[in-house]
Amino acid sequence: MTSEHQEKETVLSRRDFLATSAFLTATVAGFGIIAGFFRFFKSDVRYEEPSVFKIGKPENFPVGTARKLDDKKVFVFSDDGGFYAISCVCTHLGCIVHTSDNGFTCPCHGSKYNTAGKVISGPAPRSLPWFEITQDVDGSLVVNAGSEVPSGTKVKYS
């Protein structure tokens, strides 16, 4: 008797079942719409500069070169260890850093980096990234600003 009574209370009525499932379906659909909304705003084509670019033949960068490629926002260096490229976009808020006595300085909030791009003072949260350098079939060096390499990775090409 008691068990029958309890069963009656726990069993969902048809009306409640339909209402609940309709409500849950609407909620799920709602989340789907919201996700789609945000996905729509994520553009798949960018009108930005390509992040992989040629910088010229290795001979143009003799040992001792330190060149800032303004429009590409990288520094390209060449020393005994080989070629390497360091970003010149400050990791704090995206200003362009310039070379200073012993590394790089950012004009915006005064972050300072050493010659390897490591933060030594200021608010910058991360070191300046190093970018991958490869060589194309025509012999040009290619910087890939979309691919970071560990700090200190220098490559030799000729």
Partner: protein
């Protein structure tokens, strides 16, 4: 055939026509404004509730609400500024062109060639930034009179949403001229959006949970402000945000009605100077005899006006309230036009992504944040602002005392607590800034320190932590949550003002410290 019809026939068609012509002005006017200028109490009431634009107001208004010293007209000024901004914005849209190639040229065109263009642009700019100031002041008035209480909790929340919208509207507008100033301000802001990365990176969860990049792509469609960003920001600025803010302003006003009008002190008594408001309705005339009743139109859910209480302090909105509103509108409009006639909105050279401005500064209303940002991007850009907004939202729910609502600063003790908070926060905050300028911060002393420590412990987070602890201490000391909220709010206002001033005037190239802009080195 009755007499009228006979008359109709006997008069010649032409004379009917000339009669109609003569009364044309009166009949057209009468068909639009059905009641004419009201001269009875009933007519004064229906002048309000029969008018689409006026019926959002009550037919009667409490004298306390009409006193300029209570609301200071600040909410109204904010609203009228919004109207001015929308109107002038439509004019600017006639010539503005949101493309990277043309935007800058079209703004120059508006400034130098278009008839009235420069003043229109100035009006739009100054009224827009004026909104920030007046909405903040309005919020302060609402806070200090305790008007976020007694049923108005939700309207305070709507208010904070309006505040956020005002900030975002100004910000999106800032990019549109596409000059150096706006470009680099947007670079800064887009990096602020990216700033949660500082935390997710330190915790090593960026790969799974990259809110920073997400929000940046949402607003800018990429990593740096570019073609698509301009398109999108323009869409937000002229279309999406104005629609949203109109809806919320509508809710704001509707709630004021439903909450029973403005707050007012319990112990209200009219003074001699209040006798200027129209005579109270004669006891025998009108549909609202003083002691008998009040119309449905006067009643709203909420505590006031209640039966037979304070009803004698309600006067007709027509003409009292309407005259006051008209006066505020005219003063606001006049001030904006005169200011805009003399002071030009800035424009710099065409945006150049290769040469940053030095110093690159966000728009002034975000400079307080940028100062915090110069300690830690995450705290300044995301952590502390979120915490502040969260705190503002919660104020009416964490302080629920109903004592002395509608009285400036609640009571004598309230004034003292507010003054105390003002002095302490001014002195301490300046002290912290002086310290940070002179001695630097953790990384200057321990270069190897992990980023996570700096993210968590920096002048900004320490300061906000102090404010919270101090307010809790005040609550314990006085036994009143209202007093705690008072300290919190005063310190919030002081911080906003001091940090904004400091970062605007005293931060120069390389974010170095200078006593004033005139000392910046030439570079």
């Amino acid at each position: 055939m009755n007499e009228v019809e006979v008359n109709e026939i006997e008069r010649s068609g032409l004379s009917k026509f000339t009669d109609n012509l003569k009364s044309l002005a009166a009949t057209v006017f009468g068909s639009v404004f059905r009641n004419g200028s009201p001269n009875s109490d009933k007519a004064r009431a229906s002048a309000i509730f029969n008018n689409f634009f006026l019926h959002i107001q009550g037919t009667k208004t409490h004298i306390n609400t009409l006193r300029p010293s209570y609301t200071l007209g600040l909410g109204l000024i904010s609203f009228f500024l919004l109207v001015i901004v929308v109107a002038s914005g439509i004019f600017l849209m006639v010539y503005y062109n949101p493309s990277v190639e043309n935007a800058y040229q079209s703004v120059k065109n508006i400034i130098y060639v278009v008839f009235g263009g420069n003043v229109t642009r100035n009006i739009h700019k100054w009224a827009g930034e004026g909104m920030i100031i007046f909405v903040l002041l309005h919020m302060a008035r609402v806070f200090f009179t305790g008007s976020y209480k007694s049923g108005r909790e939700f309207n305070w929340v709507v208010g904070v949403i309006l505040l956020i919208l005002v900030f975002v509207l100004n910000l999106t507008g800032y990019l549109l001229p596409w000059d150096q100033l706006s470009y680099w301000a947007l670079v800064i802001v887009s990096n602020i959006m990216q700033s949660p990365r500082e935390l997710t990176d330190s915790l090593g969860i960026t790969r799974f949970f990259d809110v920073g990049t997400f929000s940046r792509e949402f607003f800018l469609a990429g990593m740096v402000p570019g073609k698509e960003s301009l398109n999108r920001v323009y869409l937000f600025h002229v279309m999406v945000l104005p629609l949203i803010i109109s809806v919320f302003a509508g809710i704001h006003f509707w709630r004021i009605r439903k909450d029973g009008g403005m707050t007012k002190p319990d112990a209200f008594s009219p003074t001699v100077s209040d006798s200027g408001y129209a005579v109270p309705p004669a006891k025998t005339a009108g549909i609202f005899p003083t002691h008998k009743t009040y119309g449905l139109m006067e009643l709203a859910r909420g505590k006031t006006p209640s039966v037979d209480k304070d009803i004698e302090n309600m006067v007709f909105s027509w003409p009292n309230l309407l005259i006051a509103e008209l006066a505020v509108l005219m003063l606001t409009l006049a001030a904006v036009v005169v200011y805009s006639y003399y002071i030009n909105a800035p424009i710099r050279e065409f945006a150049n992504p290769l040469i940053p401005e030095n110093p690159a500064k966000a728009p002034w209303y975000f400079l307080g944040l940028q100062e915090l940002l110069s300690y830690s991007a995450f705290m300044g850009g995301a952590g502390l602002p979120m915490l502040t907004l969260f705190g503002l939202f919660l104020i009416p729910y964490l302080d629920r005392e109903q004592y002395n609502v509608g009285t400036w600063f609640t009571d004598r003790k309230g004034k003292l607590i507010a003054f105390e908070a003002f002095v302490i926060s001014t002195v301490l905050l300046i002290g912290i800034l002086v310290f940070a300028v002179n001695f630097g911060w953790l990384r200057s002393w321990f270069p190897e320190i992990p980023q996570l420590v700096i993210t968590l412990v920096n002048p900004g987070s320490i300061w906000v932590g102090f404010i919270i602890v101090w307010s809790l201490f005040v609550i314990r000391r006085t036994g009143s949550t209202r007093m705690g909220a008072m300290s919190l709010f005063v310190m919030f206002l002081v911080s906003y003002v001091i940090l904004t001033y400091f970062a605007t005037e005293m931060r120069g190239p390389n974010w170095g410290f200078f006593w004033s802009m005139s000392q910046w080195p030439i570079h």
